[in-house]
Symmetry: C2
Subunit: 323 residues, 2 copies
């Protein structure tokens, strides 16, 4: 299942509104086929793994309950699997989509196939967080990225921030971009830095997400230099406007302090990723603007450490929404 979850990450940021699922077929302890949801959402992971493979009598690991609904773009995965006659299907997370919601598993069992549920369900949900956030909250999953010094600064007073973190952390930041459907920055960051926000990693250049600027003001947006060079930039008039985005399940907020605070203050951040360099800056620009915190008590209990490791000399930490 861990291998299937890792495979599911290949589709992350490119399958919306479909979930980025992973699938592995195992016979006699050997992986005989692998699949993942392809860009655009089709084929589904199970169809991808079954394509050209003989699954009869095998174990099929899949990170999400197989879908029970046919569509113009393909048959239901539960039917495909039933026809392939595996011995067992091992499922990580149930699919809350009302068109499936237990029907996928039921159909497999009705076909006489053994089904095991709930294997590494938390890890699978985390890998498909965009899909679950969309279904449960009606909006994309939001990651906020902050790259700071030990004292929480993101730039010198003149705005210079090249470089705070080292090459390993910056490369990781580009992987995070590749895993997003859309990247958002504040208007002032666009004006100060003219960021391209592309994915500068070999082999992943084609994965650059949609770019958006957070600004209250359409006229501010339409005046931005960047639009002339790269007309695909989009306008986001408020953090709440992410509810109206279609085809965007994973959103990455890259700053500056105003945009970061707008998302945090609106309680729209699901995952906080921190890159911290072992340096002190002192007087500079803080990572986060006003989030409207009235007292310290309200700040507590919101974040749970989910990952922590070194990236070169920098520490990488992931915090997830605690509730």
């Amino acid at each position: 299942m861990a291998a299937a979850i890792a495979l599911s990450m290949r589709g992350r940021g490119r399958t919306a509104p479909n979930p980025n699922v992973g699938c592995v077929i195992v016979r006699d302890g050997k992986i005989v086929s692998r699949g993942w949801t392809r860009p655009g959402g089709r084929p589904h992971a199970e169809a991808d793994a079954l394509d050209g493979a003989d699954a009869a009598g095998a174990d099929v690991y899949v990170t999400l309950e197989p879908c029970a609904h046919e569509s113009a773009r393909g048959p239901a995965c539960a039917d495909l699997l039933a026809a392939a006659r595996p011995a067992r299907v091992i499922v990580a997370a149930p699919d809350p989509d009302p068109r499936t919601d237990g029907k996928g598993v039921a159909r497999l069992r009705a076909a006489g196939i053994e089904v095991v549920e709930g294997v590494m369900a938390d890890e699978a949900r985390r890998a498909m967080a965009g899909f679950f956030t969309r279904l449960e909250k009606g909006r994309p999953h939001v990651t906020l990225k902050l790259a700071t010094s030990l004292d929480g600064q993101v730039a010198l007073p003149d705005g210079s921030s090249q470089w705070i973190t080292g090459p390993e952390a910056r490369a990781h930041g580009h992987v995070e971009r590749a895993l997003a459907d859309m990247i958002v920055v504040g208007r002032a960051t666009v004006e100060a830095d003219h960021p391209t926000l592309d994915v500068r990693l070999s082999g992943l250049g084609n994965r650059s997400p949609v770019r958006a600027v957070l600004t209250h003001d359409w006229s501010n947006f339409s005046k931005l230099d960047l639009r002339a060079e790269q007309p695909d930039w989009r306008h986001l008039p408020s953090p709440e406007a992410i509810r109206d985005l279609e085809g965007i399940d994973y959103l990455l907020v890259e700053g500056g302090a105003g945009a970061a605070a707008a998302f945090a203050g609106a309680d729209l951040v699901d995952r906080l990723i921190l890159y911290r360099a072992p340096i002190l800056i002192g007087r500079g620009l803080s990572a986060l603007g006003d989030i409207g915190l009235g007292n310290l008590e309200n700040a507590h209990g919101r974040w749970r450490l989910a990952d922590s490791r070194m990236l070169g000399k920098d520490r990488f930490e992931v915090y997830e929404r605690a509730s």
Copy 2:
């Protein structure tokens, strides 16, 4: 030797100008006696361990080369040890004090005792950092403490900072106080918080260090409320003035941002301890004021991560001066 180093920490913050040494006597794989430099600097660790113990034929572990100089307050430890006839003396760090500087080891060898040098020397030097900093730099060893949110803030805009970190981190902060000879805070922190800076840990209450206020201005100092209640506060007119302090080998700087920046900007911080709570504050007070950083390149390469662990929900990190 690890046990001897742990014992040496019992004297830390109370033995200046003597080093806080630890000593363990082992026979047949069992510890038969332990010693550490006592408050005020006497007895030395070796004398403390030898007192009432039979070391003949035993192994003696000591974190610093035994001293070779007699004083009015006691004989040289090298002579004491030679007279006790151990089989071996295992030494962590050499003593750079010109009165010893190799003579302690030479005297033991001349008495026919086997000496092993350099065992866990780095760890021992770290445990006795105040002594080494005094000898090598002519000033106390300085620890700067910062207790921040994930975004590097130490308080809300109104100055309230109760509480950012949890009880485990705060208790640890009191242990750090107990390990210091002196605690320094900036004048504005005294005026805002009226801190007592005492050690509120059961059993360690008698270890509260000398308190000092950083302020350019004697008249500002003499007007401080705190002095009326606790007349033992001292005045520190600048970070550089720590060079004139006598009997202070370990200094702890507790803030605020101005005092912290004054020490960091003067390159007088040897050890940085960070307590980071899993919260976001946004607009607030930054941990560090202006340290006079001209460009980001100059910020790099100064700090090396020496320790990192969780204290309850908070992360504790120790950085040491890299050069």
